[in-house]
Symmetry: C4
Subunit: 273 residues, 4 copies
């Protein structure tokens, strides 16, 4: 992971998941507000989407674990070698990926069987995020000031998103908490990219001065700018989805309301997602 | 911002907003308790007031941003100059103002359209306050002890008011939480003035000794006194508004209850606000 | 306050209030569970008791403030003298007492008029306790290790009781939270006495070694023992009150249920409290 | 306690209790979901089980206290000897056990009488855990880095499980919070064993290098692995119990539903637990 790619990969995972979660929340909210006709069909559809989400989670986690272990120069599953711990940082990353993979498995179980309470998935997600922040917090011993600071911000964002996920778990069905979680997850993702850019500049630029306090003050602000940008992008996404759903529903549900069958409706919604 | 005026401006903004919020809460509470006649009319009125509140927020934020950027000696939108970051403190302040401006825009959207959930405004407000406290927390590197302490108290108050706003977002319609938020916002405002007085005495007095522990102990207490004074002033405000609403309602709603029309009632309440 | 008496006075205040609160909660709980006959009368009685509680609070606060200011060697209301702050520690204590006095005034207003929401009193109480802990936290600059540690434990207990009071404010009518608050308030009181015994031994014993780590470890444990003792005493109090209410109710409400008048019943309950 | 056995004993206690709590929660959840026939009988059974749980708690606490005090080289109830505190670490442990014993007594009272509110037991449990974490936090003065780190992780886990227990106390009947608490309690137990293995290797291996940062980084990860393993074991336990209850209920409740008597049903469920 000590490279640009090693930070870009988890960053991309977080951005994709965050964006998907936020889109899902918006769709659920807008549908619930606009229509009551297609409710049941969209529910079975949602269930299928959730299972796919779990599968993608597991796939991402396995990719990440394999990448950490079997990249050239990686530990190749060796934990103890020549009388000392071997490549512990890579093992740390593997552990983090593992917990997200566990969450994926539980997510699939929650939505494919009736045996497990659904909110267990939320609990596992907050667990995975908390474990991530715990490991990041104990991850940066003896590094340069700026490197340390950026990873502490990551741990900080992770703790916040873990707390928000836990609150979601306690107070079910608060759509804005889901938004908030999505923004924090995307923020983690973009911050991974930022760390990559600062510590391992991809274009061959010289690395930043890691002991300059001015850089720290800039990155403090930069962190806030990431957050502001995420809010604006999600806002545009919200506006776009609202417009899409509205215009489509008017066509389908108003003019052909007599002819509409459940099956067709499900077909329609499938295209929209 | 490194001047008395630079602290007095945001201080005044916070005091005005805090006082308006607290007055709004009191009016809503007293009306709800005293009368049921004029309820609907005051609701449309409230909606209009909320939109104006958003407009004023945006105006304040734009003023603040412009002031930070285009004051003589300001960065004039230049972030990087001569091979290093340029005037980062002013950029920090600009960022804080930006988030409050974003909140204002969302507030207008929440109360002018039906598309966005209303409590999004609360969430954005708590976000803006948390970003403010985050930036303040990383803002005072390498300053004198007393300067640092006063800004940490600001960050502390901001965190508390952010938490209270977040609680409001979760538990809707608790009037006392709105009071509490108002008091903490006003406290931030008056504390900005106090910082201005201590660091840049306006009357030409000598500056305080920034390394004297006695000054720190006095300011600890002074902070509490600000808070006590705010409580007492809000208490008087509460008593005044209760008296006003009661005396007016007795005149209007009891004696002329047969003649009263909705339109008139709205007219009346408009004057009161 | 730099004496045994100066710590014994607030300690006694906290113990008295904590014990009264816990007795009140137990009585309310036991009555609610055992009987429905005398309910209304005990409610007006409770209201009167609450007002008296407020009066006693104000009295305690005024006593405390006067004691801090006008004791021989006190500041006599002088804050700034000979070019520097004068007796700031005494002023700190005065400020703390003031907030508890403010709470007392609000408590009287809450239960004597209908204009103020009742839970405002809880909010003011948590405010007063938070201000106390804030001041204690910034109170012990440059003292010996053990002195500092004991006052930090006081601040810690105060923060916990402030949090519990705030939770009570949010989730109304949870009798066990009231118990919890009482125990933490009594713990503060007994810990004040402990501080007095350690720093200013009343019997003329030599003072403790304030830099010995063993003393710190003992006091850590001692703090827990205080808490255990408080729980046991409150448990005995609970058992005693339950027995008292039960035996009295059997006499009054069962055998003479036909003759019983409201006035008599109130008279009875008055004696019990 | 400065030995492998001294860590294995409380570790075993925590693992047993955690496992029992998690099994109890699963049983309650699965029963509630699968059947409504035997509800009442399982309730009286549950009551009896709770009382036994309390008895076992008290027994464990007494064993622990006796072990700490009367082991060869223990303090034998002497707290102050030869002018200084005597064996404070053992006294610390005794205090922790005492609070868990107190919780056991309250648990018995809660489920054997109607006089005490049931959730008092939860409150006492969170108290006991908080006291434990408080003492652990002030327990490791002047030890080696790794020793200190491992005990701080213990205090950290204890604080988390205390918080979760407190949340359970506030929001009754959330089965997943009960799971979460169980996992954290088991994590404490296994971590006690880990501490024992690291500090006092039982097989005569050389002790670990307590100042090596690599060991710290490994133990950070190891802590997460413990947690993952606990989740997987509890998951298997969940699957096993679900299967058991389902297969048994099908036999009993479906085929012989006409013949079934309450007494028999209770008998059946007794075997299952």
């Amino acid at each position: 992971m000590g490279s640009f790619k090693g930070h870009a990969l988890p960053g991309a995972f977080f951005i994709i998941m965050g964006f998907w979660w936020c889109t899902k929340s918006i769709l659920k909210y807008v549908y619930k507000k606009q229509t009551r006709t297609c409710y049941l069909s969209s529910k079975t559809l949602l269930r299928r989407a959730e299972i796919w989400e779990g599968v993608v989670s597991v796939f991402m986690a396995v990719t990440g674990m394999a990448g950490e272990q079997f990249i050239s120069g990686g530990p190749y599953l060796a934990l103890y070698k020549d009388g000392q711990w071997y490549q512990l940082l890579e093992w740390h990353h593997t552990t983090m990926y593992f917990f997200f993979g566990l969450q994926g498995v539980v997510h699939i179980l929650c939505f494919s069987t009736n045996l497990v309470p659904t909110s267990l998935s939320k609990l596992m997600l907050s667990n995975a995020i908390f474990v991530e922040s715990f490991i990041f917090y104990n991850h940066t011993h003896g590094r340069e000031m700026l490197d340390d600071f950026m990873h502490q911000l990551l741990a900080f964002t992770a703790i916040l998103s873990g707390l928000v996920t836990f609150m979601e778990f306690l107070t079910k069905n608060n759509v804005l908490l889901e938004f908030l979680r999505s923004t924090l997850i995307i923020l983690q993702g973009t911050w991974f990219w930022q760390i990559g850019y600062v510590l391992y500049p991809p274009s061959g630029n010289p690395t930043w001065n890691l002991t300059d306090i001015k850089n720290k003050m800039f990155l403090t602000m930069c962190f806030s700018w990431h957050y502001a940008a995420i809010y604006i992008i999600i806002g545009l996404n919200y506006a776009f989805i609202t417009w899409l759903v509205k215009s489509r529903l008017r066509k389908v549900c108003t003019s052909e309301v007599g002819l509409l069958k459940n099956a067709e409706c499900e077909h329609e919604s499938e295209e929209e997602v």
